[in-house]
């Protein structure tokens, strides 16, 4: 179904024409669909979110990722209009909206606990916004029907929210927002109340839906797996600030600082000192006594740094392979069998401990106390400033 094309309608809001066109053309030119400029929200002198600056292109799926209290929900609520920024502005295709009341912004918000109206049928829930805009009966029925079909629940119009499962309620919540053809869809941890299997299934559906509609999406989550799977770009936040913005690959492979490195995926974070900088690499000496070749960095000799090594990048190699970079002799301290992977805690003399994740090879027959040889490429040793 050509969803994007068939949902191209003019919506009126109390007599004012408020045309919302959905373009599937992502190269809109230089005006981003959504821009946040120096947004600051002060709750108390100790609790401040911002300054936050961000540009989202039309049709993009951007996640705000971080631990609780990092400010991602506050940012989302500022975009929706339920918080008023203390400073800064929010622009929708170039127009500042931070002073607009939340019911005039034509921005869809999908709530964490769905917020379906318990006293209305599913049909009336989805039709709620349309009724407010005095959409004619025939068009209303048609649009609600389309929205329900879009989320795969065409026959549930007559039921009440309490009769639906969590996953179904979530989809109706999406249908209710989508039927109004908002310019932006905001998601406030929508999947966190679902169990794991359902969550994974809904993830796929959600992404597909967004792609089909071509609507710009901003998605708040604390689940890094979700962010990595869904997003075009991820905004990693902590303590009210943005730590890094980048594609999932960038965030994972090239974390900008220790917080991002630690928050996404597992990591070995090792305190070290820069010993030497040459053409291809940086030589560092860890506090545990190891000397490693690390990737290039702007640090200078003598700087204190933090080296980041992903556990899965540390390879177990055969004794014979002498030519590996950063070849280390180690002793297995602890070994955890995780099904697909082995998780090893190894001691590298003089005093360095490392976490290693290796693909299971039962034939290896490894056990705690064994001597092993590991290696890690210099490009996999990232140097982050302290």
């Amino acid at each position: 179904m050509p969803a994007a094309a068939s949902l191209r309608h003019a919506t009126t809001s109390r007599g004012r024409a408020n045309v919302a066109l959905i373009t599937t053309d992502k190269d809109q030119g230089s005006t981003p669909e959504l821009e946040i400029r120096n947004l600051v929200k002060r709750f108390t002198p100790q609790s401040v979110v911002g300054p936050i600056s961000l540009k989202v292109a039309a049709g993009e799926f951007v996640s705000l990722l971080g631990p609780s209290g990092c400010g991602k929900t506050t940012t989302l609520r500022c975009i929706a209009g339920f918080e008023t920024p203390s400073e800064g502005s929010i622009l929708l295709t170039g127009a500042a909206i931070e002073r607009q009341p939340p019911n005039r912004r034509n921005i869809g918000l999908v709530f964490q606990n769905y917020a379906l109206f318990p006293h209305l049928t599913i049909f009336e829930n989805v039709a709620f916004g349309l009724r407010l805009r005095r959409i004619g009966k025939a068009e209303l029925i048609q649009r609600v029907g389309q929205a329900l079909e879009l989320v795969g629940l065409p026959d549930l119009g007559g039921r009440y929210p309490r009769q639906l499962s969590g996953g179904q309620q979530q989809r109706i919540a999406i249908a209710r927002s989508v039927v109004l053809e908002p310019r932006i869809l905001l998601f406030d941890e929508p999947l966190s109340n679902l169990d794991l299997k359902l969550r994974l299934a809904m993830r796929k559906e959600l992404r597909e839906l967004q792609r089909r509609l071509g609507t710009t999406a901003v998605y708040v989550t604390h689940d890094q797996g979700e962010a990595l799977a869904l997003s075009d770009r991820i905004v990693v936040m902590s303590n009210g600030r943005i730590e890094q913005i980048g594609s999932p690959l960038e965030i994972y492979e090239r974390p900008a600082n220790t917080f991002v490195a630690d928050f996404i995926g597992g990591s070995n974070l090792i305190d070290a000192v820069v010993m030497d900088v040459d053409a291809g690499a940086t030589i560092i000496r860890t506090d545990g006594g190891l000397t490693l070749r690390a990737s290039r960095t702007a640090s200078r000799v003598g700087d204190r740094v933090v080296a980041m090594v992903r556990p899965e990048r540390v390879r177990l190699i055969a004794d014979a392979e002498v030519a590996a970079e950063n070849r280390l002799n180690a002793r297995i301290k602890e070994l955890t069998y995780l099904g697909q992977d082995f998780q090893l805690a190894i001691d590298v003399p003089p005093e360095q401990e490392l976490m290693v994740v290796a693909r299971a090879c039962a034939e290896r027959g490894l056990a705690a106390g064994d001597q092993v040889v590991v290696a890690v490429d210099a490009t996999d040793v990232l140097v982050l400033s302290k």
Partner: protein, 287 residues
């Protein structure tokens, strides 16, 4: 802790028994007495005789009592409407306010409730009296004094003032149960505050509204002190029709008949309120 084993001695009897007995003696029996008395014949010499009759009830059908009854019902209705108009915004505000604000707000709501109705009415007497505040302001502008007291409007003002908390408290409890995200969802979908109230808050707080209306109405039609002080002889209400015959003219069977009718009415209201509260508690668990 509440599992009943078959061998458990009924300790509960010892716990609820005393109050139960006490209420039977001092609540149930007096009310039975009043119902019985309403069927006795009035006697000017011995106050009543044990001859059973329904004359007392038939006597109530006369025009003067009907006037009083209708007036009482009408004043109660107007008072209830005023309480809804002022009470809903207040209830919403307290339900959604921060904890500190809500505590302060509740204090200033409950405190007048607990201070005797006499004192609150006293204040209004000063405001509306011949030499009171309003008239002082009016005469300062050189206008004629107004007779603001001893009419129905004054009584309604007094009633609404005294019984407003009865409306706010159940309404507030009802609104508190509404998930605030629903209001945000409605606004996000384009609703103004008025539309959000009408389409989301009102339907979902109906139980609290009805409870509040029944409580206020029930109290307003049985009110005695406020109409007496604010309305004087001109605004007679049912409460007065019970007090006078009872304490002054000793026509007890008559008064008992009126009281019985009022008891039936307010009991029905009370059951309705309890049923509503029970139903909304059950709904909460179901949703």
């Amino acid at each position: 802790m509440t599992v009943s084993q078959p061998r458990q001695r009924p300790y509960w009897v010892a716990l609820v028994g005393p109050l139960g007995l006490y209420l039977v003696v001092f609540l149930v029996i007096p009310f039975i007495n009043i119902i019985v008395l309403s069927f006795y014949t009035h006697s000017p010499t011995r106050i009543w005789t044990t001859e059973l009759t329904i004359a007392n009830y038939i006597d109530l059908m006369d025009a003067s009592f009907m006037t009083v009854l209708l007036r009482t019902l009408r004043l109660g209705g107007v008072c209830t409407v005023i309480c809804v108009l002022f009470g809903y915004p207040l209830a919403y505000f307290l339900a959604r306010a921060s904890r500190r604000t809500a505590l302060i707000g509740l204090f200033f709501l409950v405190m007048p409730l607990m201070v005797s109705a006499v004192i609150r009415t006293f204040g209004w007497l000063v405001i509306l009296g011949r030499n009171g505040l309003v008239n002082s302001a009016i005469t300062a502008f050189g206008l004629e004094r107004l007779g603001l007291l001893y009419n129905e409007t004054a009584v309604v003002i007094g009633l609404a003032n005294v019984f407003l908390p009865f409306m706010v408290l159940p309404l507030m409890a009802s609104i508190e149960r509404i998930n605030p995200a629903l209001e945000e969802a409605a606004r996000n979908l384009g609703a103004s505050w008025l539309q959000t109230f009408y389409r989301v808050i009102l339907p979902l707080s109906r139980a609290g509204l009805i409870s509040g209306c029944l409580l206020v109405y029930s109290a307003a039609i049985s009110a005695f002190v406020v109409p007496m002080l604010m309305g004087g002889a001109r605004v007679r209400v049912i409460g007065r029709q019970i007090y006078d015959p009872l304490l002054i003219s000793y026509s007890w069977p008559n008064a008992s008949a009126i009281a019985t009718l009022l008891v039936i009415a307010t009991t029905c209201f009370a059951f309705a309120v309890l049923a509503l509260m029970r139903r909304s508690a059950r709904q909460e668990q179901g949703t």
